[in-house]
C-alpha cells in the first residue's frame, strides 16, 4: 500500500473515512454533489485542520513543509480561477516542479499570463502544476472539467501513464461516470460524507445516483425526477 489513511474527519462534511490505495492504482471518487469528495481530497492534502491519520509511503505528508510536500502529494482544486496574474511558466514552477511538462503541450502557453488564457488552456497549466513535481499521490478534483473531448482522453491516459511506475498513485474526484468506469482501477462512491460503496459495476454505481443506461445514454431511473417528464 502506498497510502493508508484512517479516521479522516472534517466536522459536518466528512465522517471517519478510511481508505488504502496501492502503488500504481488509479482510484476514482464519485458521488452526488455535496457528498464529500472534495472534503476527502482536502483531508488528505492537509487543507484545513482535518482529523485522522495519513501514512503516505511511510510519512504523514501533512507534517511536511513546502520544500518536501510536493514530492509526496499535490492537489488540483476544482476551481480554475487563479487569484493572481502570473505567467503560466511561473505558476508551474511555484508548485515545486519543472516549469515544463511536455505531454500537456504547453509550448505556446508558458509565457502567457494565466488570466489571459482560455479556461481550457488554463486547466492544462493548472494540471501541469499538479503533475510536474511527480508526487507519490496525485489528488485531482475534476481534472477533465473544461477540457475538450480529445484532451479529456489524453489527460486520463497521461495520469494512468504517470502513476504506472515509481510507486505512485492517483485519487481522482470525477462526475463523468463513463470516464470513471473506463479509467479507474477502483471506484469509491461517496454519500453524505462517507464512502458508501466500492464498485466497478457500472449499473450498480449508476443506481446509487438514481440513473440507468438506456440506448447508450444515461437517464433518471425515476421518471418523476426528470424535468422533461413533468411537462
Amino acid at each position: 500500500m502506498i497510502l493508508d489513511a484512517a479516521g479522516l474527519a472534517i466536522p459536518g462534511r466528512l465522517f471517519d473515512v478510511s481508505l488504502r490505495i496501492a502503488a500504481g492504482e488509479l482510484v476514482c471518487l464519485v458521488g452526488p454533489n455535496g457528498s464529500g469528495k472534495t472534503s476527502l481530497l482536502h483531508a488528505l492534502a492537509g487543507i484545513g485542520r482535518p482529523a485522522g491519520e495519513v501514512d503516505l509511503d511511510g510519512v504523514d505528508p501533512r507534517t511536511l513543509g513546502p520544500a518536501q510536500r510536493p514530492r509526496y502529494l499535490t492537489y488540483l482544486p476544482a476551481t480554475r480561477d487563479v487569484p493572481w496574474p502570473l505567467l503560466a511558466r511561473d505558476l508551474i514552477a511555484l508548485g515545486g516542479g519543472e516549469a515544463t511538462f511536455p505531454a500537456l503541450e504547453l509550448d505556446g502557453l508558458l509565457d502567457r499570463r494565466v488570466d489571459r488564457l482560455s479556461t481550457g488552456e488554463r486547466s492544462r497549466v493548472l494540471i501541469a502544476r499538479a503533475l510536474a513535481p511527480r508526487p507519490k499521490l496525485l489528488l485531482l478534483d475534476e481534472p477533465t472539467a473544461n477540457l475538450d473531448p480529445l484532451w479529456q482522453i489524453r489527460l486520463m491516459e497521461l495520469v494512468r501513464q504517470e502513476i504506472s511506475v515509481g510507486g505512485r498513485a492517483a485519487l481522482v474526484a470525477i462526475h463523468d461516470l463513463d470516464a470513471a468506469l473506463r479509467y479507474a482501477d477502483r471506484m469509491l462512491v461517496m454519500d453524505r460524507g462517507r464512502i458508501a460503496a466500492e464498485s466497478l459495476d457500472g449499473p450498480h454505481v449508476a443506481a446509487i445516483f438514481g440513473i440507468e443506461r438506456a440506448n447508450g445514454k444515461w437517464r433518471p431511473v425515476n421518471p418523476l425526477a426528470d424535468p422533461q417528464s413533468l411537462r
Partner: protein, 319 residues
C-alpha cells in the same frame, strides 16, 4: 529582479540619500563648520533616514498586504491601517503628550492593528476589490472622524496645532533618536516580511493550493497583519500619516519580478524608500517660500495614479 536592476535601484537610493544630505549645498558651505555639521547631523540626517525607513516600510507592508489580499489595490492607507495608526497616536498623545515616543508608538501600533482586524472582520480574508475598498473607506472615515473629534476636544490650541501638523505627515524636525526609534521596528518588520516572500508567492496559486503545498495560511495572514501594523504604526508615530507610497511602490516593484508578489517585497521596499526620498526632495526644493507637508505631496502625486489604476482595471474588466 535581476542583479542589474537591483543594483540600479540601490544606486538611485544612495543618490537620493546623498542628495537629501547635501541639497541645498550653500547652507553647508556658507556658515561656519560647527553650524554646518549641526545642519547635516541634526536636521538633514534624521530627515533623510526617516524618508528611507518610512518609505521602505510602506513599500514592504503594501507589497505584503497586496499579496495577502490578492489585490493590487490593497495598501496600508486604503485599508485604513494608516488612519487607524494616526487615531491611536492622537488618542495616546492626549493621554501622555507628544513627548512620550514609546507610548505614542504603542498607541499607533495598536490603532493600526485594530484597523486591520476590523478590516478582516468586515471584508473577510478573501475580500473582493469593492468590499475591501469600501470597508477600508469606512474604517478610514471612522478613524478620521474620531481623530477630528479628538482634535476638536484638544485641551489647548497648541496641542491642536501640534497634532494637526503631525497628522499631515512630516519628516521635518525629527531628532536622530526619533529616527532610530522608527528604524528599529521598521527594519525588523522588513526583514521578517522578506522571509514571508516565498509563502506569499505560493499564496498566488490560491489558498487551497498553498495549504496543500504545506503553508499555514492562518499563520501567514496573522504575521502579515501584525508585521505591517507594527511597521506602519512605528513610522506613523514619528512622522504622521503619509499615503499612497504603500500602494504605488509594490505595483512598480512587481514589474521587476514578473508579477511575483512575494519576491517583489524587496524591490517594493527599495522603491518605497526611493519615492519618499524623492517626494521629500521635492518638498524641500519646491519654490513656494514655505514647506509643504510631505503627505500632501505624496497624495497629490498618488491620487491621480490611483484613479488611473482604477480606470485601467475597469477598462480591462469591461474589455
Amino acid at each position: 529582479m535581476t542583479a542589474r536592476t537591483s543594483g540600479l535601484l540601490w544606486l538611485a537610493l544612495v543618490a537620493a540619500f546623498t542628495a537629501s544630505l547635501l541639497v541645498p549645498l550653500h547652507a553647508l558651505l556658507e556658515v561656519d563648520r560647527g553650524l554646518a555639521s549641526a545642519v547635516l547631523v541634526e536636521l538633514r540626517l534624521p530627515r533623510a533616514l526617516l524618508a528611507l525607513i518610512y518609505g521602505a516600510t510602506l513599500g514592504a507592508s503594501g507589497g505584503a498586504i497586496q499579496a495577502l489580499f490578492a489585490n493590487p489595490l490593497a495598501s496600508p492607507d486604503l485599508t485604513g491601517t494608516t488612519s487607524g495608526a494616526a487615531l491611536g497616536a492622537v488618542v495616546t498623545a492626549y493621554l501622555f503628550g507628544f513627548a512620550a515616543p514609546i507610548a505614542l508608538s504603542i498607541g499607533s501600533v495598536a490603532g493600526a492593528l485594530g484597523a486591520l482586524v476590523l478590516l478582516i472582520t468586515l471584508a473577510g480574508p478573501k475580500a473582493e476589490t469593492a468590499t475591501l475598498l469600501l470597508s477600508g473607506l469606512a474604517i478610514s472615515a471612522l478613524a478620521g472622524a474620531l481623530t477630528t473629534l479628538a482634535l476638536a476636544l484638544a485641551p489647548s490650541p497648541f496641542a491642536f496645532y501640534d497634532a494637526y501638523d503631525w497628522l499631515m505627515g512630516s519628516l521635518i524636525d525629527r531628532s536622530l533618536d526619533q529616527a532610530v526609534f522608527a528604524a528599529v521596528p521598521a527594519i525588523l518588520v522588513i526583514a521578517l516580511l522578506l522571509r514571508l516572500g516565498p509563502a506569499l508567492d505560493r499564496l498566488a496559486l490560491g489558498e487551497e493550493v498553498a495549504q496543500s503545498l504545506g503553508d499555514n495560511i492562518a499563520r501567514l495572514r496573522l504575521m502579515v497583519i501584525c508585521l505591517s501594523a507594527l511597521g506602519v504604526g512605528a513610522c506613523v508615530a514619528i512622522c504622521g500619516a503619509i499615503g499612497f507610497i504603500g500602494l504605488i511602490a509594490p505595483i512598480f516593484a512587481r514589474r521587476l519580478t514578473r508579477g511575483h508578489p512575494g519576491r517583489a517585497i524587496m524591490a517594493s521596499a527599495l522603491i518605497g524608500a526611493l519615492l519618499l526620498s524623492l517626494a521629500d526632495l521635492t518638498v524641500r526644493l519646491a519654490p513656494i517660500g514655505r514647506t509643504l507637508p510631505i503627505g500632501v505631496v505624496t497624495a497629490l502625486i498618488g491620487a491621480p495614479f490611483f484613479l488611473w489604476l482604477v480606470a485601467h482595471m475597469r477598462w480591462r474588466l469591461s474589455a
